[in-house]
Amino acid sequence: MSELIFDQSRSGRYAKAQAPKKSVKIDIPAHLLRKDKPFLPEVSELQAVRHYTRLSRKNFSIDTQFYPLGSCTMKYNPRGVHRLAMLEGFLLRHPLSLDVHSQGYMACAYELQEILKAVTGMRGASLTPMAGAQGEFAGVAMIRAYHQSRNDVARTEMLVPDAAHGTNPATAAQCGYTVREIPTDSDGNVNIESLRAAVGPQTAGIMLTNPSTLGVFEQKIEEIAAIMHKAGGLLYYDGANLNAILGKVRPGDMGFDVMHINLHKTFATPHGGGGPGGGPVAVSERLVPFLPTPMVIKSGDTYQWLTEKECPQTIGRLSAFMGNAGIILRAYMYARLLGQEGMIRVAEFATLNANYLLARLKAAGFTPAYAKRRASHEFIITLKKEAKELHITALDVAKRLLDYGFHAPTMYFPLLVPECLLIEPTETEAKEVLDAFVDAMIKIIEEAKTDPALLQEAPYNLPVRRLDEVRAARELDLVYRSDEK
């Protein structure tokens, strides 16, 4: 049984080297003071260090495992970048420091804005959104502000393909739009006829991922852009799959008006067990006035902040300060390490790895969801056939992969492909790793043929066996109670 930190508590114990010694009577009026002791652990420094070090070892991570999680771009996060972002000068800089004490940080932020403009083919960029979903929010809010600035207030509908990430419709709704789904045709492209039928004076825009979440490039993108622009709508580019085209095609050239970039995907910033992310937005000329603040401009040799004062039409602030500043710093450093030469190799090798993995899995008998299409940086296999013949599910295969030391691919997304695994190897994995993954997949199917229960019961080699999620949702246990011991 894995102990909780609270199980080790003894009243009065704490890391004495870490707290100031002063203890004087506090003259704050009694009715404002806390009377009870908050239920925090009471442990020694060693106990805390040991407990959390041990917990860390119960995680899969990129540093320890291959992590082919589709649509998440789990590439190597350079250690040097993390170390340099933790330099004391960066860590101690207060976000409201005067410009004269911020030129180091501001130079990095400014240069990243320029780099992002260059790789996306856009005219303006703001780094403040703190994750992809907040970038989407900023983007859709800018679309709304743009229409409102033209007094074009009848546009109440946002178009979203049925294969889209869940954040797309959720964001559109959060910005007050009605969501209209556009179907995908059998090749994985947006159905053009449905799109034509859907657009009109009520259309505010469309949110697209390209390559799509189906792992294929939307070939008719120029036509889609023409249809949308003719109808007066704008195009939002979900940058979740930017890794597939970095240095090859630019969203700005495809006709997109606004996009976000997931720094924690394409620019290799660490995911940290679910965040922080980074979701800068980049826009075409017509949306520049609406970018979220603050931004950095260069005037002569010095850098200055752009705030609401200089940008009266901005959608405003998305965080108290400048978003996930440390992630911006890391992304900047990654871009400098790659440089021009490295940047255009990202998509090449991400695509090479994906197509190689797909070819090998196909040869081993797995079924690609879009057999006729070239894979982008990721691809989908469907286990529909295996589910029918061997009575196993994509979930079973995923859990068994964990036993073999591989993180599972994304499961059951996109929603329109049954029993699917969405696989994204990224460019930083070596061929031997991909081969070992294929071997494991082959072995798992062999196991399923002789003993399907083996998969259904998996995993076996992890800290816990398969967990009861239904019970977790039904009998909510979200905090440990102090009287539990």
Binding site: L55, P95, H101, G247, G272, G275, E348, F349, L352, V464
Partner: protein, 466 residues
């Protein structure tokens, strides 16, 4: 190429397996008209050694200040163990714990965090974090609106003494929904406390929620009991926006008034997260149990595996965007896992007693500074109320020039209030945490006295952009 392991031999073999002649052919589905050949605006690549040299130079440009700036981001001592452990690859480079069995480290830690944060706030439950304080306040307001009876318009009272940037973020995020009306509540010029009673005469309709900061932006302690009771008496949901460090010392939201605040949120940065230019930080959000289904963001629950062994999973996912899509409680997807990791380790090291001692040291240092400033010529303490670790003073000389002059002494003297609060002309918000010694404080006061004593015309000629 950096971080690409392929040898020429690998590439050849892999292309042969795929069945194409060259790498370029993998992009044959992309129309030629759209292709870019190179990216001239991107600088050439650097080695790690070259990058380190550049970054050290840049970090040095921003270094060496004695910081008396707070205003929502606070310098505290961070034990070495906090980031040593949080930087372990197993925490740093893991993804969102969708595969629970392969993520028990992160999931158990988040469960422990939820326990600690909920208790620190005196409330029943906590989510696994949001982006940061300002957007957490916006999410809390949206959550309150969802939880309230259906209305045509939801009216939310926001104190003018709430952090001005939080108010901006709330306006950006909540403002997208035309059905929520934000109403500003003034503060008392003598005490700096929010004057809810001033709202009484203009209130014709029901109030959905009342935001209660503790301490407020001026460092002033609000009468949170009275404000909470006022909110409940008006049928409104009470939302505390608090500094979590202060809650080791002050009465937490769940204990305010007769029934306790319903929701508490704020900025988690004071608990083990460095200033770092404003982020990444994390927002926390806690509530009474009745509100849990409207709570946005990730939530971890404890369950058992098939052998009955304790384990942890993401739960209540039916609220979230990847299931509910357009009907989700929020579009949020990411939490700030790494920062919560650091904060959980921080809270474990300090414990209830250590944390209270840090909070007390902050308070006592601020009191010490206040006493010194009260007797300083050209300085006037503006609000006469109990404070936590920030105070507002009015200076006899222009604040922007004084800030610039003290910067020459490597002192960051605080936040200039007048550009945001015109009624607080020449006022400065100063913060002192446990990181400052009496000698630091005395040095600050001495330098301030010196610049205030300078000739007015000399001061007037000081250049200060910002």
């Amino acid at each position: 190429m950096p971080f690409i392991p392929h040898t020429e031999h690998d590439v050849k073999e892999m292309l042969a397996t795929i069945g194409v002649a060259k790498l370029e052919n993998l992009f044959d589905e992309i129309p030629d008209s759209l292709r870019v050949k190179n990216l001239p605006a991107i600088p050439a690549s650097l080695t790690e050694m070259e990058l380190a040299r550049l970054m050290r130079q840049r970090a040095a440009l921003d270094s060496g200040m004695l910081c008396f700036m707070g205003a929502g981001a606070y310098e505290h001592h961070i034990p070495a163990a906090v980031w040593d452990i949080a930087s372990r690859g197993e925490f740093l480079t893991a993804y969102t714990p969708y595969q629970a069995e392969a993520s028990q480290g992160t999931l158990q830690l988040l469960y422990e965090y939820q326990t600690m944060m909920a208790s620190l706030m005196g409330l029943d439950v906590s989510n696994a974090s949001l982006y940061e304080g300002g957007s957490a306040a916006a999410e809390a307001i949206l959550m309150a609106a969802r939880s309230h009876r259906k209305h045509k318009t939801y009216r939310v009272l926001i104190p003018r003494a709430l952090h001005p940037y939080y108010r901006d973020v709330i306006k950006t995020i909540v403002g997208q929904q035309d059905i929520i009306q934000l109403i500003e509540v003034p503060f008392d010029a003598a005490t700096g406390q929010t004057q809810l009673s001033a709202m009484e005469k203009d209130l014709h309709d029901e109030v959905t929620a009342v935001v209660i900061p503790q301490p407020n932006f001026f460092g002033v302690l609000e009468d949170a009991d009275a404000m909470t009771d006022w909110a409940h008496a008006h049928g409104a949901i009470a939302i505390g926006v608090v500094n979590p460090m202060a809650m080791a010392l002050l009465k937490p939201p769940g204990q305010w008034g007769k029934k306790g605040a319903d929701i508490a949120c704020g900025e988690g940065q004071p608990l083990g997260v460095p200033l770092a230019s404003g982020g990444p930080y994390y927002g926390f959000l806690c509530c009474k149990r009745d509100f849990v289904r409207q709570l946005p963001g990730r939530i971890v629950g404890r369950t058992v595996d098939k052998e009955g062994k304790q384990g942890f999973v993401l739960t209540l996912q039916a609220r979230e965007q990847h299931i509910r899509r357009a009907k989700a409680t929020s579009n949020i997807c990411t939490n700030q896992g790494l920062l919560v990791t650091a904060s959980t380790i921080y809270m474990s090291l300090l414990g209830p007693e250590g944390l209270r001692q840090v909070a007390e040291a902050c308070y006592l240092n601020a009191q010490y500074l206040k006493k010194k400033l009260e007797i300083l010529h050209g300085v006037e303490v503006v609000f006469h109320s109990p404070c936590f670790h920030e105070i507002v003073v009015r200076l006899s000389k222009p604040v922007d020039k004084i800030l610039r002059l003290l910067a020459n002494d490597k002192i960051q003297a605080g936040f200039n209030l007048a550009p945001i609060y015109p009624e607080l002309g020449e006022c400065l918000l100063i913060c002192v945490t446990e990181t400052k010694t009496e000698a630091d404080i005395e040095w600050f006061v001495k330098c301030l006295a010196q610049v205030l004593a300078m000739n007015s015309s000399t001061i007037k000629n000081i250049e200060c952009a910002k």
